[in-house]
Symmetry: C2
Subunit: 290 residues, 2 copies
Amino acid sequence: MADSCASDAAPPPSIGGGSFLIAWQLKDKNVLIVGGGEVASQRIESILTADALITLLAPAKGVHARTKELIDTYPSRITYYDRRFSGPAEIHKMDMVLTALDDVNRSREICEMCRKAKVPVNAADIPELCDFYFGAQIRDGPLQIMISTNGNGPRMAALMKKKIQSALSGREGEAIERVGVLRAQLKERVPGVGGALGRKRMKWMSEVCNIWEVDELMQLDDAVIKKLLDEGWEKDCVPTLAQLNGQRKRNISRRAASAVSSDPNQWLPMIGSFALGAACTMLIVLARKK
Amino acid sequence: MADSCASDAAPPPSIGGGSFLIAWQLKDKNVLIVGGGEVASQRIESILTADALITLLAPAKGVHARTKELIDTYPSRITYYDRRFSGPAEIHKMDMVLTALDDVNRSREICEMCRKAKVPVNAADIPELCDFYFGAQIRDGPLQIMISTNGNGPRMAALMKKKIQSALSGREGEAIERVGVLRAQLKERVPGVGGALGRKRMKWMSEVCNIWEVDELMQLDDAVIKKLLDEGWEKDCVPTLAQLNGQRKRNISRRAASAVSSDPNQWLPMIGSFALGAACTMLIVLARKK
C-alpha cells in the first residue's frame, strides 16, 4: 500500500486510537461541579463513589430532583451553593472540575480557566475540551468495570454493559473481598515486604485464585481460611475446597443431582418424550389387538 | 446498630469506597516515563494505546528487552534518553508522569515534584502516592474495558478479565465501528446539531442498537446501511435485519430448528425418555397379557 511516510521502513504496528483507562483516586479531594441538572446528578453519583468532597454551583431553579435528593442525603460530602459560577477564583483549590451546563460558551470559558490552572476538567457534550471521558460503569463492592466505546455512542456501551453483566454472577465482589481477607491473614502469619518470601506468598495466592472457582472463593470464611493456610500454605500446596472439606465425592454427586433438577426447561421435554413414547407404544398395541 | 455519628439521622446509604473510572485523553500529550524495566514496558504499551508522545528516561543497562523493542518500533512516539531523571526541570512540560523505579525514595521525590507542579503521577508499587491506578484491560478496536479490584490484587482482576472475555465474541469492536458508520451516514443525510431533529436521530439510533443483535450490527455494510436508512429512518420505523432482507419467516424457522438440533445434550435425554416410556408401556402390556 502507498504510504505518505518519507522513510522506506514498514509503518509500525498500530496500537493507538484509544484512551488511557485509569482508576482516578479522589478520596477527600475537592471536586467542583458546575450545573445541577440531570447530567450533573449522574456526575455527582460517580464522584461520590470515589469519596470526594463536592462543591456544587447551580441556581436552585435549575436543580434536578435527583440532584436535590443527593444534596440532602450526603450533606457531609456535598456543599451546595444556590448561584452561578463566578470566575477563576472558584477553581484554584480544586483537584477536578466538571461542567454540566446548557450554556456551551460558559462551559468553554471554564475549561480554559481549568487548563491554565492545570486542573483536570470534563465538560458535558464538548468532547474536544475534555481531559477525560466517562464510560458505562459496573460496580460490585471492590470490583469496578468501565466500558468505553471511545466516543462511538453511549448506546453501544450500554449494550456491552448488559452483555458483561450477564456473564457475571453478581457475587464476584464478595469473592474479591474474601480473597483480600485471605491475603491479609497470610501476611499476618508470614509478615515482611518483598524478597523471596514476598514472591512465594504472591505465587501461592495466584494459585489459589487459579484453582478455586468464584463461588468457592466466596466460601472463604474465617474457618475455611484457617484450614486453607494450615493444610495449604504450611504444606506448600493448594488444596481444592472439596479436598479441604474432605467431601470430594459428595460435592460431585450434589452437582450431578442439581444438573437434573434445577431447570424445568431440562426435564419438561423429557416428561413429554416419556409420555409420547408410552402413547405411541399403546397405540401400536391397541392397533395390533384390533 | 450503634453509630459514632453525632446526628440522630440514619447514616446515608454508602456508595463510596471506590475509584473514579475514566478514559483519560492523551492524544499528542507529553508523558514522562522514568525507568525502563518490565513494568515500564507495560506502561509504555498502555500509553501508546492513547497516542501520547513519550519521553523515556532510563540508563541503557536497565532497559528491558520489550522496552527496547518498543523504542525501536515507535521512534516517532518515544524519545529515549540513556540517563537518569535529573530534577524538577524534566517535569514542567509534561502532562503526566509515570515512575517505574526500584529506588522507592527517588520515586517519592519525583511524586512530590509532580504534585507541586500539578502534573498527574503514578508511581509503580507506591499506591498511596498515585493520582491514579491501572487495571486489567481489554481492547477490541473502539471498545475498551477496564477492570479494577480497587487494590485487591491483580490476580482477581485477571480472573474477572478472563470471565468477561469469554462473554464477548471478539466481534463487538467491529459492530461498534459499523454503528459509528451508520450514525455518520444518518448525520450526512439529516445534518444539523441538537434540537428536535437531533433527539429524533438519537432515539432512532438507540432503537437500532436495541433491536439488532451484535452479530447483525456487524453486517451493516454500505448496502445494508442504505437500505436501513431508506426503509427505516425515512419511514420512521426500525426494521430488523431479517425484515430488511425480506426473509423474516425463513429466519424464524431457522432459529426454531437450531433450538432443537444444535445441542446433543438437549435431545439425547428426550430420546432416552421416549424409549423409557415405550419400554414401560410394553412391560405393562406384557404383564397384563400373562
